[in-house]
Every structure is written in structure tokens, then in C-alpha cells.
């Protein structure tokens, strides 16, 4: 009831019971609606992304402070960062015939750029020539963009020549510090990849399938490895590694270039569909 000053001093118990019953019935109704949208018959009528989030949490649970940074917003995939690894004084892997990883990956990046730009994507290279930006400089380029994916290119010194492996970060390598995440709500730079592990894994799967179709001996499933460059990228990010600089001359490596570019472009097109529909 209200006092003379208009302040609520007492609430009748019947009113509390009525309000509680009203909330419970509203919650049950929402729950039933959410379950019906997940049924196969109704799935065509409902947009897929809505079914992935349990509705009761949205309607019943009050807003709680999240212990993890918010999930990245789903947008149109606009930018691809291609990262030809190494460069400058750091030649990367070097074969006995003098083939340098840094040279080969730059030529791959230029071919991939053409294939990806043909899809209407904006493509940025982390280096255009024989220079060597730091890991963080390369990550910074990606983290300054919205709706971006990051592809790091490597040539190994080992492995079966002519095969290609695609890597994403393992979850274990990026376990966040809960104290930092809870208090700041920000994504720590040194674990920026943490929220994108599933998307990165999906991108790696799509590229690896393309590589297996093109390059005999390549695995059909992608790999997980704590690759330094990927850790600080706050976007879906993968590393592609070609084997190897141990070949006697560069021609076999150059011949892989067009297939790599086409395979990556097709995989990115497939990923784009998933990314823009909000799936993983």
C-alpha cells in the first residue's frame, strides 16, 4: 500500500502471488514456443540463428554480468587479411637449394589476393615486399578491421613435399584469465583468439578439405597447433603450411600457387555463407 508521501510501503501477499504466477506462465509459454521452433517441421519457417540460443535464458534470466567478453557480432564478411610470414632478415625456413619461405609465401599471397578480390572481398597483405612486421603489428592490422578473417601463410622445412596442412589454435593454449575477463569485459590482447576458436576451426576445416582435393597426400581434417601469429588475432584465423623448402628447385612450389589460391578462395566463399548466417 502507499503512504501519504506516495511511497510504496507494503505489498499485499495476494498481489505478489499473482505476479509470480503471471511470470511463471509467461516463462512456460516462451519455453514452449522456443521448443516448437527447434522442431524440424517448424525449422523452415524460423531463421536458423534464433534456434541456436535458448529462449528461456533471454526472457527469464535477468541480465547477469558476463564472465567472458561478448561474442563478436555477426556481420557481412568484408575483409581478408593475408599474412605472408617472415620477411626481411627473417627468411623463415630455408632449403639447401636456397629457397626462402619468405619469398614463396609472398608469391602465394599475391595469387590468393587476385582470387579473393574476384569475390568482392577487400584483401590486405600484412607485408607487400621483403620487410618483416612483428607478430603484433600483423595482428594489429587484423584487429583494426571489422568483419575480417586472417590467413597466415607458411612453407615448412619438413613434411612430404606437395602436401598442405591447415592449423587453428587449440583451446587449451588460450585459457583466459577469469579475473581479467570478469572485471574488464575486454578481450586480452595476448589471448585475442579465444572467442574465435570455433570459427577458426570451421574455416580451417573448409580450407583443409579444398587442399585434400587438390594436393595428394594432404590430410582431410585440419590440425591444431599453438601458432604464435594466430594467438593475438581477434578474428577467425588460420595458418596454412605447405611442404616444403627442401625441394631441389622452386618450380614445384610455384606450381602449387594457383591451386592454393583457388582452394582458399572457394573455402572462404563457403565460410562467408556460414559467417554471415551467424553459424559456426
Amino acid at each position: 500500500m502507499w503512504n501519504d508521501s506516495g511511497i510504496l510501503v507494503e505489498v499485499p501477499s495476494k498481489l505478489i502471488c499473482f505476479l509470480f504466477a503471471l511470470m511463471v506462465s509467461a516463462a512456460l509459454a516462451t519455453l514452449a514456443q522456443a521448443q516448437s521452433t527447434q522442431a524440424p517441421a517448424a525449422s523452415a519457417a524460423q531463421p536458423a540463428p534464433q534456434t541456436t540460443t535458448p529462449a528461456p535464458q533471454q526472457t527469464l534470466a535477468p541480465a547477469q554480468p558476463s564472465t567472458e567478453p561478448p561474442a563478436p557480432p555477426q556481420k557481412t564478411l568484408a575483409v581478408v587479411i593475408l599474412d605472408p610470414a617472415h620477411g626481411g632478415a627473417d627468411a623463415g625456413a630455408r632449403g639447401s637449394a636456397g629457397i626462402a619461405e619468405s619469398d614463396v609465401v609472398l608469391s602465394y599471397a599475391r595469387l590468393m589476393r587476385i582470387s579473393l578480390e574476384a569475390q568482392g572481398l577487400r584483401v590486405i597483405l600484412t607485408r607487400q615486399a621483403n620487410d618483416d612486421p612483428s607478430f603484433d603489428d600483423r595482428s594489429r592490422l587484423a584487429n583494426a578491421q571489422h568483419s575480417v578473417i586472417f590467413i597466415s601463410l607458411h612453407v615448412s622445412s619438413t613434411g612430404q613435399p606437395g602436401t598442405v596442412r591447415v592449423y587453428s589454435m587449440p583451446r587449451m593454449a588460450l585459457t583466459p584469465n577469469p579475473a581479467i575477463a570478469a572485471h574488464s569485459g575486454l578481450l586480452p590482447w595476448d589471448r585475442a583468439q579465444f572467442n574465435f576458436i570455433d570459427q577458426s576451426r570451421r574455416l580451417a576445416e573448409l580450407i583443409q578439405i579444398q587442399m585434400a582435393q587438390r594436393f595428394r597426400g594432404s590430410s582431410e581434417t585440419p590440425f591444431e597447433a599453438p601458432v604464435r601469429q594466430l594467438r593475438t588475432v581477434g578474428a577467425p584465423a588460420v595458418a596454412i603450411e605447405v611442404s616444403s623448402v627442401s625441394v631441389p628447385d622452386r618450380a614445384p612450389l610455384d606450381q602449387l600457387g594457383p591451386g592454393l589460391a583457388d582452394g582458399v578462395a572457394r573455402a572462404v566463399a563457403a565460410f562467408r555463407t556460414i559467417y554471415e548466417s551467424g553459424g559456426k
Partner: protein, 211 residues
């Protein structure tokens, strides 16, 4: 005139000139080889680490050493891009830290062949610790980076070979941290991230808790 002058030279002087001329010719013939040898010596200077290892030839041994069949993880020759266990006889200490040092040293020094090697022959273990929570810290010399075949694949297999060898032979190690010359390095040889910890899969039968 010249002929007369040469005739006038004493016989001993002629012999000396002939010997000197022969030595000059010999010197010219051997000069390229000498130059190459000097260049070889210049290009591979002996590092402090190598000098230290030459002095410390004696393998680590402790009073509790017992010859056991140790399971070592080197590169597989039958399966591409994979490690495989190889059993060797190795005297191993009962102390987990000393035991781990012996295993890592054997992983470097006793690789059956270059095709099975995971860690560079030039590398050495500088220090090894085990924290009470089961995190092992292995501090390697610079050669673990500088002499490592560069690449995600080779670097990952190197770290994995250490982790799996420790897991198969030492109780109580759950995680592995790799340092390079006492420092936290960004990467092993340009690719593999050394920021985090590597899981150590325990394969010790009837594993006892770490003391």
C-alpha cells in the same frame, strides 16, 4: 748478359732459389684449400654452450640410478608427420627432476638417426624444474631455436616429443613450459607459440603422485 749473370751465381744460391720457387708453387696450389678451411672455421664459431658441453661430458647420474626401459618419442619413419615410441635402456634417477633431465638429454644425444631426430643435436638443456602443481619448466640453450628446422610441423613435433617422453617416464608432470636461455621466447623457431603450456599426457603405468 743475363745468361752470363746467371752463370756467375753460386751453386748454393741457385739451389735456394729453386727450393723457394717450389715452395711458392706449392703454396699457390694449397692456398684455395686453406682459404676454405679458414672460412669454415669462421662460419661455425664455437658457442659458449658448445664449449660448456665439451667440458661437461659426463652424463647426469645420481645414486638412485637404475637401468630401465625408457620410452622415447622420436619421429616415426613409417607414419608421416608423427612421433612413435622407441624403447631404449637408460639409467634413470628416482628423483623426478634428475630423471627428466636424463630423459631430455637422451632425447637429444641418443636419437637413432637424423631422420628420427626431433631436437637439434646442438641444443642442450640448461635447467629443469618441476613446480608443486605439476608444471615442468625446461630451459634450453639458444640452439633449440637457431638450429631447429623452421616450420609449424617440425616445431610442434619437437615440443610434443619432449612432453610425451616426460609423460611416459616421469610421474606427476601435467604441463610443460619451454624457456630459451632462461627467457620466455615468443616462438620456438618462428612459428610455435611458447607463451602457453604444453599438456603432458601421463602414460606411466600406476602413476604415483609427484612428491
Amino acid at each position: 748478359m743475363n745468361r752470363e749473370a746467371s752463370r756467375a751465381l753460386p751453386k748454393g744460391l741457385k739451389t735456394t732459389i729453386a727450393v723457394l720457387a717450389a715452395m711458392v708453387v706449392l703454396g699457390l696450389v694449397t692456398l684455395p684449400g686453406l682459404r676454405q678451411a679458414v672460412q669454415r672455421l669462421r662460419s661455425t664459431p664455437k658457442t659458449d654452450e658448445q664449449s660448456r658441453r665439451e667440458v661437461m661430458q659426463e652424463p647426469i647420474s645420481t645414486p638412485t640410478d637404475v637401468p630401465v626401459e625408457a620410452q622415447m618419442f622420436w619421429l616415426s619413419t613409417s607414419t608421416l608427420n608423427a612421433l612413435e615410441p622407441t624403447t631404449i635402456q637408460l639409467p634413470l634417477s628416482a628423483d623426478p627432476v634428475e630423471r627428466s633431465k636424463q630423459l631430455i638429454n637422451a632425447l637429444i644425444a641418443r636419437a637413432p638417426g637424423p631422420e628420427k631426430r626431433t631436437l637439434p643435436a646442438e641444443a642442450s638443456l640448461l635447467a629443469f624444474y618441476i613446480q608443486p602443481n605439476g608444471t615442468a619448466i625446461a630451459d634450453f640453450s639458444d640452439e633449440i631455436s637457431s638450429a631447429m628446422p623452421s616450420g609449424i610441423l617440425s616445431e610442434q613435433l619437437a615440443a610434443e616429443s619432449v612432453a610425451r617422453t616426460l609423460g611416459a617416464n616421469v610421474n606427476g608432470i601435467r604441463l610443460l613450459k619451454i624457456l630459451v636461455h632462461g627467457q620466455e621466447a615468443e616462438s620456438l623457431a618462428g612459428h610455435l607459440d611458447l607463451y602457453g603450456l604444453f599438456p603432458v599426457p601421463s602414460l606411466v603405468p600406476g602413476a604415483e603422485p609427484h612428491k
